[in-house]
């Protein structure tokens, strides 16, 4: 029983220390957190996805008859605009 216990504790200690055992000296110890520029880009990507998803949902609702033609015409314009703006503000080469 004691032997099992000691073996387990030893294993735990090794595992917890592993990152430091593998790389005693680290060239880059940063957590790879997104920089502010990255965060802004992520926000733009989210906006693009939101706009595209909203457009897709509107099309689907229109096709299934939930949104009638009049409402569709009224709503689709602004949504297409938003999507276009979002796509444009991301790096053009992305397209």
């Amino acid at each position: 029983m004691i032997v099992i216990g000691l073996v387990l504790v030893a294993a735990v200690v090794v595992l917890v220390a592993l990152p430091f055992l593998r790389e005693p000296v680290a060239t880059d110890d940063r957590l790879d957190a997104p920089t502010d520029a990255d965060a802004r880009r992520l926000a733009l990507i989210e906006e693009r996805d939101h706009a595209l998803a909203a457009l897709k949902e509107l099309e689907f609702d229109h096709r299934t008859g939930k949104v009638d033609d009049a409402d569709y015409r009224e709503l689709v314009g602004p949504l297409r605009q938003a999507a276009a703006v979002a796509l444009r503000s991301l790096d053009p080469p992305q397209e």
């Binding site: 029983m1 099992i4 216990g5 387990l8 504790v9 294993a11 735990v12 595992l15 917890v16 220390a17 592993l18 990152p19 430091f20 790389e23 680290a26 880059d28 110890d29 940063r30 957590l31 790879d32 957190a33 997104p34 990255d38 965060a39 880009r41 992520l42 926000a43 990507i45 989210e46 996805d49 939101h50 998803a53 909203a54 949902e57 689907f60 609702d61 096709r63 299934t64 008859g65 939930k66 949104v67 009638d68 409402d71 709503l75």
Partner: protein
């Protein structure tokens, strides 16, 4: 062997503290290796908790009565399955289960998300570590399952009414639910701590939340069904504090599940979502506190236990922490878009939030009332059933209606003209249903009638949605497969409607008659005639079964028996009721014999007829199916997610 268990828990405690402290430092200082080390500590804490759990499970199966816990909850006669289920039958064991599921879920959630969401996961580790620190501390220092004694020859055994498959499954289901809510909570806290309050944490934890919510729902239905067939008072929910302890977090989680959709589409209700997930988590821990501490009178909880003050302290500290965190990051939680119309999908979700939270807080007030009155007036006052029934109707019926209207309202703004067009069929169906019901006599109960017409309304809206969608995409299967979340959700809504119909039918339209019947005497209830055919006493090795037998005529011909069992080991009685389920007529004939005299054949019997009660159990199956559809992994969605997040991670 108990030493190994104790040591394993101490190791878990150490690792939990490490992941809390070191994980927090690593996240703050942005250090990769330190964060990885804290993560590994979390994984190891699951392993050591697993060792402790294995020790307890082995002791239970082996009937090792040197473990005080094993002696208190099992005996030699107990079949292995029930001996194992005693793991969660007592306080210490159920806390160990909590910790096991917590470390397991935590390790898994962190492992899955560690590459895509590095900065977020770095903060999730210390939050889970903090929760694990609390539970492992209680297990090590306050309520250990590994206390030993000189082994008695035999243990105390398990109460017979708990030796039942439903009672075996009920606690683990609830735990998978309760503890499951800590994952979205930890990710939400991680988002606030890392300052990344975009919706990544919501997308990452969506399935966790849905799964936890499903487990919590199914767990409650299992408990209700057990109460109905085994405890035998004719009901399935008594608004007991311990029952409410599971309902409250479920309601908060329901609100959260819906409200996040608004944040995902419109970037709104961000503060709501943070508050809701914290509320759900705190209520699940608070529920554990209520159940275990003996602070409120309940049929389930009893002696004041030593863990009470610790749990209360944890709930207070973690609530203050959550609130402070939200207030600190309030500027980051500003909405991207505004609410433009009171008649919009966003507004519908907001009303949904308000009604669910109102119901949840109403129940909380009812549960806390005895404690509050004791503190304020020095006199304990208890709130009874009528209070809960009133508010269930006041908030529940509008919620039912909203379930039908919400999916049909457009985002941003809905025109009244458009809405009435969409609702034409459902309103017609509801009106027709209402008229038909009044004609057949269901007008006797106004809330019942309202519940039925609202249910017809909602079911029609779901049917119309399915028909429209199938017409547009060509096949029902393709429709559902491409929109799992939406249509899985509709199936779940349908299950809630079935639940509402079952509850309305069995409470508003039930009949109950109590009689003393001599041998050969009859009584009539709702068309059934029951005749007393006498009492039998059957002595078996471990139990003496006393039964009164009644012949039934009327819509059904047959016989039912009911009475008491007196067990030998452990020496406990249990009531056994007789139930006949008529699927065609959709009602239960429920017989409770509470006193019978074998010599004279005289019995005292209560007969109930409960219409549509079985829809409640059917609703559970439909609920499970709908959740599974919504949970089903979607390869396309997964690819889109990775494509979205990948560019940001070098």
């Amino acid at each position: 062997m108990a030493d190994l268990g104790r040591a394993a828990l101490v190791v878990t405690f150490g690792l939990a503290v490490y992941s809390l402290v070191v994980g927090g430092i690593a996240a703050r200082r942005n250090e990769r290796r330190l964060a990885a080390s804290a993560r590994n500590a979390l994984y190891c804490s699951f392993a050591s908790t697993l060792v402790a759990a294995a020790v307890l499970a082995t002791a239970l199966v082996r009937h090792d009565f040197s473990f005080r816990y094993v002696a208190a909850h099992t005996n030699r006669h107990l079949p292995t399955a029930y001996a194992l289920s005693a793991f969660w039958g007592g306080q210490e064991g159920s806390l160990l289960l909590w910790l096991l599921v917590l470390t397991g879920y935590g390790a898994l959630a962190v492992a899955i998300n560690r590459r895509l969401l590095r900065d977020l996961t770095a903060w999730v580790v210390p939050v889970i570590g903090g929760i694990a620190t609390f539970f492992s501390f209680v297990l090590v220092a306050v309520a250990s399952p590994f206390d030993t004694q000189t082994a008695p020859f035999d243990g105390a055994g398990l109460t017979p009414s708990l030796q039942n498959p439903y009672m075996v499954a009920h606690p683990p289901m609830l735990y998978l639910g309760y503890v499951g809510l800590s994952v979205p909570f930890a990710f939400a806290a991680g988002a606030l701590l890392s300052g990344r309050t975009d919706e990544r944490w919501i997308v990452a934890t969506r399935r966790w939340t849905l799964a936890a919510w499903t487990f919590l729902g199914i767990g409650q239905l299992l408990g209700a069904h057990w109460a109905y067939v085994e405890v035998g008072w004719g009901g399935y929910y008594a608004w007991d504090p311990v029952e409410n302890a599971a309902l409250m977090p479920w309601l908060a989680a329901t609100a959260f599940l819906h409200s996040v959709m608004v944040q995902e589409r419109k970037g709104m209700l961000k503060v709501w979502n943070m508050v809701l997930v914290a509320l759900a988590f705190e209520l699940s821990v608070f529920g554990t506190f209520l159940t275990r501490s003996g602070v409120v009178n309940s049929i389930h909880s009893f002696a004041k236990s030593s863990i009470g003050p610790w749990f209360l302290a944890f709930v207070v500290i973690s609530s203050v922490f959550s609130l402070a965190l939200i207030m600190w990051r309030l500027p980051l939680l500003k909405a991207k878009t505004k609410l433009e119309s009171a008649l919009s999908r966003e507004a519908a979700f907001l009303y949904n939030n308000l009604l669910l939270v109102a119901l949840c807080l109403t129940i909380l007030w009812g549960v806390l009332f005895p404690i509050v009155t004791q503190l304020v007036k020095g006199e304990t006052r208890t709130i009874g059933r009528p209070y809960y029934d009133f508010f269930l109707r006041t908030f529940g019926l509008p919620l039912l209606l909203l379930m039908g209207i919400g999916p049909l309202v457009a985002w941003r703004k809905s025109s009244l003209r458009g809405l009435t067009r969409m609702l034409a069929w459902p309103i017609a169906a509801a009106a027709v249903t209402g008229i038909v019901l009044v004609v057949v006599g269901a007008g006797s109960s106004r809330p019942g009638l309202i519940a039925y017409t609202f249910s017809a309304f909602v079911l029609t809206t779901i049917a119309v949605e399915l028909v429209r969608g199938t017409r547009a995409t060509g096949s029902l299967f393709t429709l559902v497969a491409r929109n799992r979340r939406r249509y899985g959700g509709y199936v779940v809504h349908a299950s809630v409607v079935l639940l509402a119909i079952g509850i309305a039918g069995s409470s508003a339209y039930s009949s109950s008659v109590e009689r003393r019947l001599a041998l050969g005497q009859s009584m009539t209830v709702a068309g059934y005639t029951l005749t007393n055919r006498g009492v039998t006493v059957d002595r078996k090795p471990n139990v003496t079964e006393t039964r009164a037998h009644l012949d039934v005529t009327g819509p059904w011909r047959g016989s039912l028996s009911s009475g008491d069992n007196q067990y030998v080991n452990p020496p406990e009685p249990s009531r056994e009721v007789g139930i006949h389920t008529d699927w065609l007529r959709g009602e239960d004939l429920y017989v409770i014999v509470d006193e019978s005299h074998a010599k004279t054949g005289v019995v005292f019997v209560q007969v109930l007829v409960k219409p549509l009660i079985n829809l409640i159990w059917v609703a559970g199956i439909v609920f499970l199916f709908g959740s599974m559809v919504a949970l089903w992994p979607d390869a396309r969605e997964q690819r889109r997610l990775v494509a979205r997040l990948a560019p940001v991670v070098p």
